[in-house]
Amino acid sequence: MIVASQKPVEEIRETLKDYKKVLIAACGTCVTVCLAGGEKEAKELAALLSLSGEQEFKVVTPERQCDAEFLAEFDKDVRQADAVLSMACGAGVQFMAERCAGKPVIPALNTSFLGVNRDVGYWTEMCQGCGNCILEKTGGVCPVARCSKSHFNGPCGGSSNGKCEVDPSIDCGWQLIYDRLKSLNQLHRLYEIIPPRDWSTSRDGGPRKLRRTDVVTEEV
C-alpha cells in the first residue's frame, strides 16, 4: 500500500489561504488505511481549519482518486469550490488536478513510500517500485528498498549488530536477507555476484507506463 503522512497543518493552511470555499477530497483507499487522508482525517482537518471561521470546507471521499470514474462523482462539488485540497497520494492529487480545469488542486499529504502496516500506526517501507524484482534471490527481502545504499551483493561495512549505519533503528536489509536465506537453507545464493542492474525499468527510465495488451483493444 502507498503510505503517506499529513503535511503540517500550518503548511496546509498557508497553501489554502487565498481560497474561500475549499473542497477537501479524502481518498478511501491506501491513505485511509495509513491514517493520513481518509474521511476521518479529512473531517479533523476541516474542523481544525474551520476554527478561523474565514473559510468554508466540504469533505468528500472518493473511493480512490486514481480512477477517473470515482472522481467524476464529485465534479459538481469541485465546480462549487474555489480550490480542492486533495488528501490522496501524489498520484491522486495529480489525477484530481488533471480533472479540475481552472481549479487549483493542493496536496495535503506527503506521499512517503510503498509499505506495510506493522502495527497500529506504524508502517515501514518495503518496495521502491523499481520494476525488476529480484526478491527470489534475496530471500524475500528487498535490497533496493531496505538497504540504505541499495546494495545488491551484501551489506556495507557499516552494518553492525543487524542495524544500519544510517540509523540504529533501521534494520540492516542485508542482515535480514542473510537471516532469511539461512532459515531457508539457501545461503549459497549469497555467493552469486548479482550484476549491475537495468534501472531503466525504474524511474530512471523516465515516467513509466503499463499496458495490458489483451485488455486494450484499440491501440493508442
Partner: protein, 512 residues
Amino acid sequence: MKVIVVGKSKYRDAFQSALRDAELEPVAVETAAGLKNLPEELPVVLLYDANLSPLIMEEGAAEKAVSVLKPQDAVVFLMDRDEDANPHIEYRVLETASRLASAKRRVTVLLRSCRAPDERFDDLYRIARQKGVTFIRYESLDITENEGIYTVVARDGKLSVSIDTPLLVDCGEKPSWELQEFSDALRLRTYDGGRISGNRWFLNQGATFKRNVRLVDTAALSGDIQRIMPALVKDILALEKPAQEKTAFVDAEKCAFCYTCFRVCPHSALGPDHGAAAMKVNDLLCEACGICVAICPASAIEFKAASPAALGDKPADAASGEPAGAASGDKPTDDTLGNKPAGAAAEDRRRTAEVPKETAGGKLKIFCCENSAFIIAKEALAGTDVKVESVPCGKDIEIEPVPCGGDTDIEPAPCGVNIDIEPVPCGGAVNAAMMANALRSHDRVMVAVCCEDACRHRDGNKRCIKQVERLKSRLDSLGYDSGRLSYVRTGVTMVEIFKEAALKALAGGEMK
C-alpha cells in the same frame, strides 16, 4: 447453550459434568488450533492449572520427600508470591510446611511480603507456627548451590540469615506456554510469562477483556467446583444478550477493511467478514466503548441501538452498569447489509460529509467519561449553569443547576457560566475532530478521562490524551491558543480535582 471448555485441566471432567447439571452444553477443546473452527462468540471457560512445584501440589509428595531427608536437614520454602496470584497455593504451602514440621524436620518459609488473605490463612499460619515452622521475611535473596546443598542468604534491611538446605522449594508459578497459546488463539491480552491480563481484574474476577472468556484458576478451586458454579453460570447465561444497549456497527460500504479497529478494540469484538470485505462487530462482545468509532479512518463505524429482541427483558440498571431505555431501531442482519442502522444517516453513495456549522455554545465544553468524570460532574460543577448535551441510550440524566454557594465546601464557579457536558462511553471515544468542532462552538474544551491504567477499555484514556496532545500541538502551530484545550485524569471520587480542572480550563490554564 454451548460452552467451550478449553484446557487440559485435571478438573475438566468434573467441570463439564457440573456445566451439564446447569443445563449447559460443554464442548471440550484441547488445543489452540481446535478453537479456530468454533464461532467466536460462544462462551469460553479457560481452565487453568497453575504450573507449580509438585511438592506442594501433589498428594504424598511431601511425605516422599521427607523419607529421603535426614532429620537434621532443613527444608526451605520460597513463598515469593504476587498479590494477584491465588491464595490457595499459599494454603498448600502452609499445610505442606506444617506436615513436614510435624515429621520433625526443620522447616523455614521465606516470604518477601506477608499475606493474610483471609481467616483460613491466619489459622494455617498459626498452626504452622505451633508446629515449629520458622517464617522469615526478606527483602533480597542470594542462592548458591554446591553438591546438592543450597545456601540461601536472606536479607531484610541490615539483618541477614543464612540457611543450608538440600531441599529448596520454589513455590512460585511458572509461565505456561500452553496458556499463552490459548490466549493467542482467543485474542486475550497477556503480560509477562503468559499470564492473562484481566479486565481490571478486580471489577470482575476471573474475567478477561473479552466478554465471553472466563478464566478459572483450578488451583483456587482445590476441587471445589460447585463453589464457583452459580456465579459462572449466571455470567455465561448473560452472554446470550449484547453487553450494551448500543453497539458499534460497521458500514460495510464505507469500510476500508484496514483492520485498524480489529487491532485497537480492547474487547476483541471486531472481526473480518470476508464475504462483505469489511469488518464486522460481534454484538455479543461489543462493550460500546466507542474507541473504534473514534479511530476508524474511513468513518465507517457508528453506534447503533441493539435490537430490543436482543436485549430481551433486560431490566433497567442491569449489572452492566448501563441504563436501559430508549433502545430502538432494527438490528441489521447478515442478509440485509444495505439495511442501515437506525440513527446512522442514510448517506448517498457519493459519500460527502458536511462540516458541522458553528453553533453557539457555552463557555466550556467537557467531554466526560461515563465511568469517572460524568459520575461526579454534578457535584463538581455545583454553582454553574450546566447543560448536558447528549445523553447515551436515551435516558435522561439530569444535572440541574445548583445555586451558587451550595452546600459543598468547594469554591463555586462563577454564576451564569455555561458549561456543556457531553458524556462519552470512554475517553477513547473522543477524537480530534470532535474536539476541534467543539472548539468552534465553545471558548474552551476539556476532556475528563479515567486515571492512567484505570480504563475499563484498556487504553481509551491514553488514546484520548494522546489525541489532545497532538491536537494541541497542531493548534499551536496554527497560532491558536492551545490552552483552550485541556484534559484531566479523574476518578469517581476526585470531585475537587475535576472542579479545579474545570475552573482552570475556564481560565484558560492547564492541568498536569
